[in-house]
């Protein structure tokens, strides 16, 4: 099983690496992402969003819903870290010996 996982990961890694030479050059004006919505954002951002900063206009206004869940994910990640790292016994599963004791009580 572990060997199979290693083979799958190697294949995925090789696929990803083989794609790298075909990526568009950085700053290429004719690459696919630069021809799709980017010109529209650059032209209309100040007029649509009222923000002179295109980055703010895109992440808060055009992509506002995405940023909302991004914030939620970060909050939940922080909350989960607190729950894992805090050694608060409330709400925890019982320790091993407690499980054994509970088992004897049931018997």
């Amino acid at each position: 099983m572990r060997g199979l996982v290693a083979v799958i990961l190697a294949v995925i890694t090789a696929t990803f690496c083989s794609v790298v030479p075909n990526l568009p050059a950085i700053g290429d004006a004719n690459s696919a992402p630069n021809r799709h919505v980017t010109p529209t954002f650059i032209e209309r951002s100040a007029e649509d969003t009222g923000s002179p900063n295109i980055v703010t206009g895109v992440i808060i206004d055009y992509r506002g819903f995405d940023t909302m869940w991004e914030t939620s994910v970060m909050f939940l990640a922080g909350l989960t870290t607190v729950l894992i790292l805090t050694r608060n016994p409330v709400g925890r599963r019982p320790e091993e010996e407690n499980v054994a004791e509970a088992g004897t009580v049931i018997k």
């Binding site: 506002g64 909302m68 922080g78 909350l79």
Partner: protein, 153 residues
């Protein structure tokens, strides 16, 4: 183990960072307010503000003025996230068809850019609070692993 209840460091930390704290916090607020016009915004401002609060706690321990710790910071992080979603709901109350459509903020401002600016500012405040409190949370929970009972105060 470090507990951050007591100040530590000594005279160098005390003298050098004591001058740094107010400027860090003011710069964080500056980045937050100018995020609409210049590079910056909620995420960066939150990181700066959390550094200010944490430095103050490093210097003064639990006597620091802005000592936000434990459950307060968890609640505030949730409130920051809520402020973002609440802005979306405000636009819905104003009659928008879509969530976060800033043309329908319930206050009327001319031109329509101003309503966008107001909504963007509210959202960035929410994001900044969430990021700030989450970073404080992370440091708190890591540091509290060293406590004996492990409870938040």
């Amino acid at each position: 183990m470090i507990k951050l209840k007591d100040p530590f460091g000594g005279i160098i930390l005390n003298v050098a960072f004591r001058a740094l704290v107010p400027f860090t916090i003011v710069y964080g607020i500056y980045v937050l307010c100018l995020g609409e016009f210049s590079p910056g915004g909620g995420f960066q401002a939150g990181a700066l503000l959390s550094v200010g609060v944490l430095l103050a706690r490093l210097i003064l321990g639990s006597d620091a003025k802005f000592n936000i710790a434990g459950q307060t910071s968890i609640v505030m992080a949730g409130l920051g996230t809520f402020l973002y979603a609440f802005t979306g709901w405000l636009t819905l109350f104003g009659g928008a068809d879509y969530f976060l459509d800033y043309n329908y903020m319930p206050v009327h401002l001319e031109p329509a850019h101003e309503m966008h600016a107001l909504a963007i500012f509210m959202i960035e405040i929410g994001v900044a609070i969430c990021v700030m409190m989450t970073i404080i949370n992370l440091l708190d929970s890591i540091v509290k692993m060293g406590d004996d009972d492990g409870r938040t105060e």
